[in-house]
Assembly symmetry: C2
Homo-oligomer: 498 residues x 2
Amino acid sequence: VANFWNNLKDVVVKGFEMGRADPRKIVFSAKMGLALVLISFLIFWKEPIKELSSHSVWAILTVVVVFEFSIGATLSKGFNRGLGTLSAGGLALGTAQLCQLAGDWEESVVIVSVFITGFCATYAKLYPTFKPYEYGFRVFLLTYCFIMVSGYQKGDFLHTAITRFLLIALGAGVSLVVNICIYPIWAGEDLHNLVAKNFTRVADSLEGCISGYLHCVEYKRVPSKILTYQASDDPVYSGYRSAVESTSQEDALLGFAIWEPPHGPYKTLQYPWKNYVKVGGSLRHCAFMVMALHGCILSEIQSPAERRLVFRDELQKTGNAGAKVLREIGSKLKRMEKLGTVDILDEVHEAAENLQKKIDQKSYLLVNSESWEIGKPAIVLEDPQDFQTTDSDEKRFPEFKSRSETVLDLSSLQGNWDFSKPIMDDKFNNGESFNKNNSAASNQEESKTYESASVLSLATFASLLIEFVARLQNLVDSFEELSIKANFKEPNDEVVAE
Amino acid sequence: VANFWNNLKDVVVKGFEMGRADPRKIVFSAKMGLALVLISFLIFWKEPIKELSSHSVWAILTVVVVFEFSIGATLSKGFNRGLGTLSAGGLALGTAQLCQLAGDWEESVVIVSVFITGFCATYAKLYPTFKPYEYGFRVFLLTYCFIMVSGYQKGDFLHTAITRFLLIALGAGVSLVVNICIYPIWAGEDLHNLVAKNFTRVADSLEGCISGYLHCVEYKRVPSKILTYQASDDPVYSGYRSAVESTSQEDALLGFAIWEPPHGPYKTLQYPWKNYVKVGGSLRHCAFMVMALHGCILSEIQSPAERRLVFRDELQKTGNAGAKVLREIGSKLKRMEKLGTVDILDEVHEAAENLQKKIDQKSYLLVNSESWEIGKPAIVLEDPQDFQTTDSDEKRFPEFKSRSETVLDLSSLQGNWDFSKPIMDDKFNNGESFNKNNSAASNQEESKTYESASVLSLATFASLLIEFVARLQNLVDSFEELSIKANFKEPNDEVVAE
């Protein structure tokens, strides 16, 4: 019992927090209650028209079903319901005429028509193009069957159809008035905020990746949630994941937003909501590169810490500049401002170019010359001065160096490569102790191969970062398209100067 | 008019094709028609109990709403509906007692209780944990309001509640019997097939990437659908995209599959459907690497064709072996077989190791030594024999070489790097002709930087491929977990030997 009370307390506390985090949810619930009260009241009050109120279920049903969180969803459902009811009513009345002609066969005609209609409407519903109108087909079926069955019993199809339609109209009217007139909640605004928020999330992820890589963060054991692409609270991972995963959410919001009339800051008719989704898609295209960067951290093959240090400043600068661009576009999107005259990508392009030049100058650090068939280059590669950084953090790193080497644990590698460290399976290690001495020579060779792979991984990280920068152009382009189509305001000069 | 007829013909033809591609859709539609006919028939037949049939809407409504494509969805909706109706009925009867105590204030109590219930149920519905029961809350609200309003009018709550419940039970009964007993469609089977199919798709994508890369396929203009992550019919792209995008579909099917009783080949109670989703997630984790590989093809920075040729055999073998592993696991999943005793990853690991060794030996081809601060190595790097392949396709490639160099088009690069080729904006090219001559010197330097970047891109491609291979282990592990939990059959020996 105590357990039950604790659970209940938990739920109440969490529910309370949900309300504080998004007060719109409280408002919406209150609106729903109000709409139900209104419709009950109307039914009580209309008691004189006895027949109407005895079918009050239609009005209540309509309110419960049509009343959705956002205005767009309410309108789209209301439209579906209206269209479904009207067309079903028309068809049912037509069939009714046919029935009366059929005479004795009336009942059979009703049954056959129900089957045919049920078959056709259900089949059409499964057709991909009609997916958004799925609800309309349901209403169509319900109304058609009800009018046929109920009208047949009473022998008056028209009357049945009209009373139902009046009650549905009443329910829909109450829903729409309450939902639109009192504190409307717009799907468009949600879409706007979602896309803007994803910019920040990807930027956070990018910074997390860069700093994680430079600080040689290693996952002792990669969380299995990441390996199976489930939600996890790793901050770097959840940042880009949310951007990648919001595809379906964006599409759903788009489907509702296009139903909404111009409102608030979205004044133009035919507001380009589609372009929001496009910007979201371009952001996703960049987020995939952040994901690949994170893959370098997750990977078992890690480049030595001291070589990362050589490119430290350039990687850091490029990452920061990239994150800054994302944040800036995100906040401009949020404030609905156009890009300024200054090219927003200048800084990040410069940083990427510097990174590239540095790589160009020091690319001998990215490969392992010991195994070259053409012989080693004539100079000593590991000249200590290459690893000297003028940075004050210098002392922080020796520990990483040693750790990253022990982690490699090369002696346990057998005839085939150890690709499986994160989830090491025992059967691959059978006879390990036996082989250990015999295969010392081949291990030596492998360890060199491994070393060269680990060194190349730094090149990969840098290349991916540069590719990320290259993809920003596409993001800027789709943002510009949106800002022109949606008629964003000219940027504030101060902001540009800042 | 002719246009209309053509459109209609189109729709009919496409509808027909949909039916041929998935006959279950036709069966399902016919089942829906049958259920509706049955319920209509029952209502006609029950005419003696006049009152029941005058509220027939409840039975029809239940059939229309509960009858879903898969058994799991039908059961879960039926459960929601039952639970919602029962709890709402109980609560309504309780409130009704309260109302009768309230005497004159009865109407106010009804109104207030409707508001409070509406508020609480709607608020609870928005709570993320209760998301799967969203439909139950709707039914709860509908039933509660209806019983309160209608019972209040007639002064007999209990009777109202019971007749409704009987009709709903009738509708649900008909739906369940028809849907389960006649050609059942299982969500679990869909999940099984979806996951298995994604293996093939990712494998196709991987092979497409490798062969595209080796044949130096370049996108003259990257399709904007890829840049904004929308569906596109590019075969390589759509392959991994479908695996990445099926997250929500897998989750939805999982939600239904856990409702289904043991059936067909899925005999154990508590069948591990969750592990299917896990395998799907691990596959996605691999698919992200294929996506990154494809990114190397989409990228503007392309490595020279003749250097790719050097690693041609190794890349090809690793890619083929990787795709083979994916296909094999996919078909084992489909046939519900355990992995054999032979390590499925042996071949691909060996191929990856060879690729890595080759890189190790020839890593001088992956960097550009001209700008090394430490001076050039003492040997001529571009020894013609490095590019000699013993392959017969040798003659196919010179054309690619020349093309890949013209594509670079280095002379048009300005002060900052040309990251924007795919969607080149005109304003960035202003004054190009003016700069062209003046900045010849700086262009020279940049073109070198560019060259080294393009050479490194090959290293990136190889690293990503190796990382893909490394991720296969995780996939094999989650498949093994599934095959043990789901009690897959032991592999057929012939298949292993084959």
